[in-house]
Structures are given as C-alpha cells and as structure tokens.
Amino acid sequence: MASSETVPAGGHRARGLAPFLRSQMRNIAPFLTLIFLSAFFAIASPSFATLDNFGNILTQVSVTGIIAVGLTFVILCAEIDLSIASIANVTGIAVAYFTLQESYVNIANVPMPGAVAIVLAILLCALLGLVNALGLTVIGIPSFIMTLAMMQIAAGISALLVRGQIAYKVPSLITTLGSGSIGGIPWIVIVAAVMLLGGHLVLTYTRFGRYVYMVGGNREAAEYSGLNVKLILGAVMVISAVCSGIGGMLGVAHFGSAQQNEFDTYLLDSIAAVVVGGTSLFGGRGGIGNTIVGLFVLGVLNNGLDHVNIDSFLKILIRGLILLAALVINVYAQRLREKATD
C-alpha cells in the first residue's frame, strides 16, 4: 500500500506551488489583510501597538466572537442568520427580566433565582432558534427571509419585556463573566476563546462537524449520501441562536445595562467577521480559524481608526470599503479554487 502512494499524500503539492497557493487564497488573503492593517496602524499611531491596546481589541471583539461562532456553522451550510443581533438582544433583556431590578426601573418583571433566570434565557433563545429551524426545514422558507422575520419577532419580544425602560441588574454569574476579570484577563475574552475553541473542535473533530461541511459543500450530494440534511440545517440554526443568546447575556453585563436595540451593530459585524475571514458564502469552505482572523481584521480596523487622526465621519466609509474589498476577495477566491479543482 505504502509503495503505491508515491504521489505526496497531501495531493495539493503534487500540482506545484502556484495552484496550491491559488487554492489556499481564501485563507491567505484575510491573513495578509490583517498583517497589512496592523502594520499600517502601528506606523501611523504610537498608541496602537501596545499590550494594553491589544487587550482592548480582544475585549472589543469578544461579544462579536461569541455570536460569530454559531454564525460560522450557519454560513458553512450556505445559509444565513439575520436574527442573531435581535436574539442576542432579547436574551440579554430576558435574563434581566428574570432578575430583581432596582425599584426605580419601572418594568413589571418576574424575578427568579439567578440560575433559573439564566436557564430560562437560554431556553428562550434556543426556542427562537428552533422556530428558525422549523421555518427553514419544515416549511421551506429561505433562511434569509425566515431570519428576517425572526429579527422582527425577537425585537418585538424585547420591546414588550422592557417597554422602553433600561434594566441594570443581571444574575451575578453573568455579571462576573461579562464584566469581571481574572488575573488581569477579562472573563468575557476567556469565554469567547473557549467558545471559539469549542466551535473549532466540533467542526473539525466530530461527525456533526463533517456533516456541516458536506451539506455546505454539496447539499444534493449530502442528500444522496443518505444524510439527514434538514436535521443538520435545523441544528445549525439552533446553535446560532444559542451562541447569540450567550453573547447577548454577557454583552448586557459588559455594557452594564439591558435595553432595546442595544446589539444592532452586531449583526453586520458578525457576518463581516465570518466572511472577511474567508469562510465561503457558498458554504463548505472555511471555519472557526477563518472567523478568528476575520474578528481580528474587524477589531484592528475599528480600534485602529480611533488611534489615527481621521475625520470620524470618513471612518464609516473606510470601514465599508475595506469590507467590500474583503468580500470581493472571498468571491474571487472561490472561483480560483473551483478552477484549481475542475
């Protein structure tokens, strides 16, 4: 057997370096973007390349990172989840709703013991994810539309729970994980790192992870291979909602309050992090490693722009242009890869 494998087992290398690089374009390009941005800001501002600021960037991307774990699963399956920010918001509000608030917070809430509040909040986001899953797989609504509706539904539940008020108290476990730190490292960074690692392990080493890649790579083939495609799609929608919910609960503790529309920017940030990192919008390619690079690109960009002296209104435009460039690379890398394989 060994003698017959004279061709290098990697397969790619047999075709030479250039095709290999072409096929890896998706992974290389975001990394180069990250290095370029970091170098640029390090030169442009003395306050950027410091250990303190690195800690800032980590903290700033943590909530996005937690949400992006679940979204990576969804995008790997060539679906999308537009309800992540709303579900994060409603879960954060729910956990406050089930916690005893100060007397001046005028909402008719239902205080529970801390652990119960957390469990109820998680159940809520899992339930909303399940509704997404059923809409997508049983009824057959495209995920783009289904989760657009869920975005409204979750926002609506949020509005009913807080009624325009702001709640400040959450269970102490959530307060610690969201805003506390241990040995100088914020807990929220640790949670994000653990969840990203967990997501990576699931995608790489479990049967379910393999199924996610195969369903994303060729859904028809997955079905003809006898996989339960609907079950897998449903599962990723629930995973996405639960990750969003956890991000929302910790985010509320991190910001110090729970209120309507608190997470709106996280929808685009999370999608951007996953896609800029090089995970294919067409499914089947990419992973948590890519998402981490994407998170750093976004984090460095947002943070770095604050360190250099630019018109703050121009920053929004610059951000948009850099994201566009990353998306162009994503689509282009997909084509290069298809050429390398066909």
């Binding site: 397969g11 195969m214 060729n218 028809e220 079905e223 006898g226 079950l231 394989t341």
Partner: protein, 500 residues
C-alpha cells in the same frame, strides 16, 4: 422525398470532435422546405451534435454549411435564429413564473410607441396562436400552474410560430400524453403544408414513422441510412441503428440472450402500484436478494422519479413501498439509508463532493457506522484505501481531491461509498454511462460480485447494453408504466427496443 429541388439547408462532410473523440464523421445532411425529417439513433450516435451545429450551438467543426445554396457561417445561436433556424431542446426551457402569453412572446413582446408592453394585444395574439395549435388556456394564467405536457406544447408552439423556416424538435413527445401527441402532429403537418422544414428527433420510432416524410439513421457518428418513411419499418430502422456484424467494439447484444430462471432469494423490496403525477402509473415490482433487476426505458419514461422514490427523495402520490415485509414511507434519504437502501444517481455531481478528498467521499455514508461522536480519520483512510485497491481507482491516493479524478474513477468512488457496509438493496442509475470500455467492464464485474454476495440490485438505464449486460430480469418502462417484463426467456436489444 422532394427530389431535384434545392434544399433549404445542406450540410456536407461534417466532422466534429470533442477532445479527440469524433462525435460526427463526414456526415452529409439535406433538408427541404415542406419536409418533416425524422432522425433516429442510439444515445451518443451524433444526432444531437448535428442538430446543435445546425442551431449554432456548436460553431467549431469542419465541413460545409449551406443555407439556400449559400455558404453560411453561424457564430452563435443568435445567428441561427436570424437565419430562420429554431430549436426546441429536450429539456423544458420556459419561465414558469411568467404568464402563458409572456412565454409565447418571450423576448419580443409587442410594445407601443413608448416601449410599454401591450398586454391586451399580447394576450389576444397568444390566445389565437395557441388556439391554432388546439390549446385552449387562459393566456394570462401562470405557466408553471399548467401540467408539464401542456407547458411543453406551449414551448413547442412558441418556436413553431416564431416564423422560423427550419424547426428542430428534440424528443418533443416524451412528456406528452397520446392526445397531446396527436395535436402536435396535426400542427406539424399543417406547418409542413405552409412550407416549414422540420427535423424531428425521437426515440419513439412509431412516432417518427407516423409523422416523417424522410428518416435518417445515425450510428457511431455516421449517417448509415436515409430513406422515405413509407419505405421502411420499425424493425428495419432498429437494425440500422444497432448495426449487425462485428462493427461495435463491445458485445452488441443483437443476438438473443437467455435470461436465467427466476431466483428464489427473499423479497427485499416490493413496490406496489407506485404512481407519481404524470411520471409514474401504478408501477409494481419485486427486488430479490441475489438478483439484478434491470429497468429499461427511454429518457423521460419515469426511471429517474422511480429511483428517487425508492431512496426517499420523492414521495409517491399513491402506492406503497414494502421493505422486508413492512410498508415504509421514508421521511428522508437518511431513513431510506438506515432501512438498507442505497442509491447511485446518474449524475456523479449529484452524489460526490468534488472539493473534498477521496476518503471523505468514500466514508460520508458510513460515518455513523465507524464513529459515534468523534471522527476517526485514520480508520476512514484505511477503509478508503481498501476500496481504492479493490475497485482499482486511479490514482490510488485517498487524500487527493475528488475533482482531480477522471469520470470513470469518480463513478467507482460513487459505488465505493456503499460497499464497505453493503446495503440490502442497491439502486444504480445509468451505472456505465459515459465510461470507456475498461471502466465499464470494471463496473459490470463489481455489480456481479455484489449480486453474488446476496445484494438485491436494481439497475435503471436508457442504454439497452447496460441493462442486458447486468440484469437477470428486465422490466420495460414506457411513459411511466411497466409495459413488459422479460424473465426466463430470450431477450435482445431488438426485443427491448421493440417493447419500449
């Protein structure tokens, strides 16, 4: 055959090759105004290639192309349309979400001076045109809501009434019911009276004989016969299509082959009166362990739908599937797989992951047998290596992306997916299509080996050789119904074609 007049279209010495394989070799073809010209030949004989040259789809070929005696150079399908040539392809190409009228006028809606669509005029004219065709539908209804046969008729009507002088119809009748076929033929005859030249390609030789003036037969890229329809017969045409003597490289199955005594293996699957819309009508059969059941029929006869029903991808409108004695209704393909049924569809793209390595392709359907929560990549590679060795897949590198393998080797990988833990019933669609002789023989040997191991196997094919080389028992499917069963009796290619 109108002799002496100048043909409206004439092709001389056409040769066309695809990557070194000659699809057409020195073919002459002439078409006259007011003529219906039937074309017959086996799959891959060159009919479609020739028609695509005429319709401007293939533009690279050698030979002369004359329209009205003038040399013409078509560079695109658009050029062909400008020259008055229109083609109805075998696959439906309509816009189901547009109205019937919009489909009839697709691309040239009547507009007023402002460029706005004149809906009322369009609806009225579409209605009049379709009425001439004997179709009575509301021109403003959504096309996709109509039955498939009617959609096909409307598409044909659109092309026939587009003002083209030369109309090519590729398998127009396969989705039509007998009364619809009558309507089509009546219209074709009327257009012939008006001077249109029509090329009619079909596997249904009776249809060809009924409507054509002239019939041309293709075999292996050559024109082997051209005759007046009134001067030939179904038998003669089939003989010309298949050829006698040692011309074919392979066993040609022109002589009778004796099917074996029916086996006494247990019934693994029983299909009871399966019906599906217009595709299948009360199809019943049994698949037995240690037996290969061949199901033969022309393109569009319902084979594809039948195979999807067996694997839980489609749900029949009525009828039952009985697996190991219990009636089953599969909620998903996963349920069918767990019940011991495996399917290899006709398209490799539909069941393989081209961007993934070979070993992941081989293991995907059996992952739940070899690992529970965590993957065992080393074991996956071992299993893949064993299959690669057994099936002689080249190159024998399980880490190579599947897309780097040749078509025949990909087909073997598609089979390999099911072989480590063999199913009870293996359903193979077109298992040897597009393969060279060596790969074909490999696949035939694999299937025989599986039969010997006691699997029940169903082979569905539109190629008679495939069914004849593999099957112990043969069903012939025609327009969704089982019309003939061959068992324990002599069978040959002629007999199969005769039945279908």
């Amino acid at each position: 055959m109108p002799e002496g007049r100048q043909p409206i279209l004439e092709l001389q010495g056409i040769t066309k090759s695809f990557g070194g394989v000659e699809a057409l070799r020195g073919v002459d073809f002439a078409l006259h105004a007011g003529e219906i010209h039937g074309l017959v030949g086996e799959n891959g004989a060159g009919k479609s290639t020739l028609m695509k040259i005429i319709a401007g789809v293939h533009t690279e070929f050698s030979g002369r192309f004359l329209i009205d005696g003038q040399e013409a150079h078509l560079r695109s399908a658009r050029d062909a349309r400008a020259a008055g040539i229109a083609m109805v392809h075998q696959e439906l190409s309509v816009a189901p979400d547009l109205t019937v009228a919009e489909n009839v006028f697709l691309g040239n809606q009547p507009t007023n001076a402002l460029g706005l669509v004149q809906w009322r005029r369009m609806a009225r004219e579409a209605g009049e045109q379709l009425a001439r065709f004997g179709i009575d539908v509301d021109p403003m209804s959504r096309l996709g809501d109509l039955p498939i046969g009617l959609q096909q008729l409307i598409e044909i009507a659109r092309v026939l009434f587009s003002g083209a002088r030369i109309v090519i119809l590729d398998e127009p009748t396969s989705a039509l019911s007998p009364p619809e076929v009558e309507r089509l033929f009546a219209t074709l005859r009327r257009l012939r009276e008006e001077g249109t030249a029509i090329v009619f390609i079909s596997h249904f030789i009776e249809d060809i004989l009924r409507v054509s003036d002239t019939v041309t037969v293709f075999r292996n890229g050559r024109k082997v016969a051209e005759t007046a329809a009134s001067a030939t017969s179904k038998g003669a045409l089939i003989e010309a299509m298949i050829g006698r003597g040692g011309e074919a490289l392979e066993h040609s199955y022109t002589d009778d082959l004796m099917l074996p005594q029916a086996g006494d293996g247990s019934v693994v699957l029983k299909a009871d009166q399966l019906s599906l819309a217009r595709s299948l009508q009360e199809v019943s059969f049994e698949a037995r362990a240690g037996e290969v059941l061949g199901i033969y029929g022309f393109m569009g006869c319902g084979q594809q739908e039948l195979s999807r029903i067996l694997f839980g991808k489609l749900k029949p409108d009525s009828g039952a599937l009985i697996v190991d004695g219990a009636a089953r209704s599969f909620a998903s393909t996963a349920a069918a797989r767990r019940a011991g049924i495996a399917l290899v569809p006709e398209s490799r793209r539909a069941m393989l992951f081209h961007q993934e390595p070979v070993y992941k392709n081989v293991s995907i359907s059996i992952l739940d047998r070899i690992s529970s929560l965590l993957l065992k990549p080393a074991q996956e590679r071992d299993i893949a290596r064993r299959q690669v060795e057994q099936l002689q897949i080249r190159p024998p590198v399980v880490g190579l992306d599947l897309g780097m393998l040749s078509g025949g080797n990909q087909q073997k990988v598609a089979l390999a997916k099911w072989l480590t833990y063999p199913p009870k019933l293996l359903v193979l669609c077109e298992p040897t299509r597009g393969m060279d002789v060596g790969a074909k023989n490999d696949v035939i040997n694999i299937v025989r080996d599986l039969r010997a191991r006691g699997l029940a196997i169903i082979v569905l094919s539109t190629e008679p050789e495939t069914v004849l080389s593999l099957a112990d028992r043969i069903l012939v499917l025609k327009r969704g119904a089982v019309v003939r069963e061959f068992r324990n009796e002599p069978v040959s290619k002629d007999r199969l074609l005769e039945a279908a």
